[in-house]
Symmetry: D2
Subunit: 147 residues, 4 copies
Amino acid sequence: MELSPRDPDWETRVRSSFAAQKFMDFLGAEMTHLSPGGVDLELRLRDELTQQHGFFHAGATSSIADSAAGYAALTLFAAGFGVLTSEYKINLLNPARQKTLLARGRVVKSGRTLTISKADVYGLDDGDQVHVATGLFTLVSVAGMKD
Amino acid sequence: MELSPRDPDWETRVRSSFAAQKFMDFLGAEMTHLSPGGVDLELRLRDELTQQHGFFHAGATSSIADSAAGYAALTLFAAGFGVLTSEYKINLLNPARQKTLLARGRVVKSGRTLTISKADVYGLDDGDQVHVATGLFTLVSVAGMKD
Amino acid sequence: MELSPRDPDWETRVRSSFAAQKFMDFLGAEMTHLSPGGVDLELRLRDELTQQHGFFHAGATSSIADSAAGYAALTLFAAGFGVLTSEYKINLLNPARQKTLLARGRVVKSGRTLTISKADVYGLDDGDQVHVATGLFTLVSVAGMKD
Amino acid sequence: MELSPRDPDWETRVRSSFAAQKFMDFLGAEMTHLSPGGVDLELRLRDELTQQHGFFHAGATSSIADSAAGYAALTLFAAGFGVLTSEYKINLLNPARQKTLLARGRVVKSGRTLTISKADVYGLDDGDQVHVATGLFTLVSVAGMKD
């Protein structure tokens, strides 16, 4: 697995692209880790993010998993290539009823066109950690798309 | 495939559970179709729902697909059983840059414990319709969980 | 969705590539339908294809689903491009204990690099038809790979 | 995660169920590791297992991944419960053109009804190891089904 960034400006680029994702700001997600091939995002529980039983909605859980997986991929893209999610699959392992969700996106295979990332989401609660979800993501690098 | 609701109050139950999903209200999703085994949701584009290129974020697209698929399953559940998403997979087919997203959730197989639904998401724009995403969802019926 | 073959020799190419899949011959799969964007494969039950309960092994079911989905994609590829499966997901809906499996692969979205196909597998038994599996597949077109 | 077998006879049960999978014998798969929550299977390349380019067919790769993931789950089932695959997703990371495939199935979450396993498949060739595939599997425990 190639974990050397091809773009010397990868860090600035990933941070500014994440800052431009209005949906992440709307949810309240924050980037808490950034390294070549790895991005962590955190999201605090608020009423607006819940489903009918008061847990994080699977859509909220998946949204930060998708962004973490996608930006982990982008850390390794050459300059001038943008990132789009082609597909993903996620298993929801336990109810997400903790105070904070932590999504860990990590690159599994970095290719020229396709990158495969995984994301694991943990619920954090006063020192406890519950494995809430695990997923696999295919990201496409698109030439000429600004990111 | 069994498409006869087991709960005579299925319609009221699905509508009130959907109304209790604060995340759907936060996104702005509306239920525009409800039948045994089928739920449609619509979502209008707003800045808050976009990713870095101005398209609907994959997380927003997936969120309404998940709720449409899950509530399609719930229409067929017996009274006293709640619905949780166990897993799903989604392929993002085309950029979601239309004014409105329409997610069509339909039951593929209704079982006692597990229900499989599919969801197709279309982008609607002045009469045009683009197939934006397609997914498969496994829903679990949980005894004693209010829904 | 573009369903016009780009290669005038698509039919010969798909049939000869399928004939070159020794694994399909080993399982005993036969191509029973071929059209632009669509391939059907059939597989008759034999002891060698079963799991521990005497049903078709999920691996056998998935194998013909994968080949049906992949060759459906190949029908639309330009000459000189080969097909590889990038990823797939499959839901096993009912036990596959019928005499024959029929896998229907159909293109959902045909792109230059990525094609998304779906496959549905049915168990056939003296006129009965059971929906055994449904899946979504991402196929990659690879320049310079013979197919 | 609960990794204590509930059935004192788990080892005998898993080995004899695997021996009863005629499809695994047909492919030539062997169990090379067995522990609570973990099963490894190996498969040597033969012409009968290849696709049109001479690589292991994605169906062969997936078949051993599925059996490894499923038997990893079965190691933790109570006596009297059988295992069925409900669904899975697999990403094919690199061409599988090595001499031997090694599939590592590991339990991610062990539940009463649903178990989530992952499987990673490696291609082994004279000391080299290539990550060929990674997947996520949902297994169902079925009361009264012999395994």
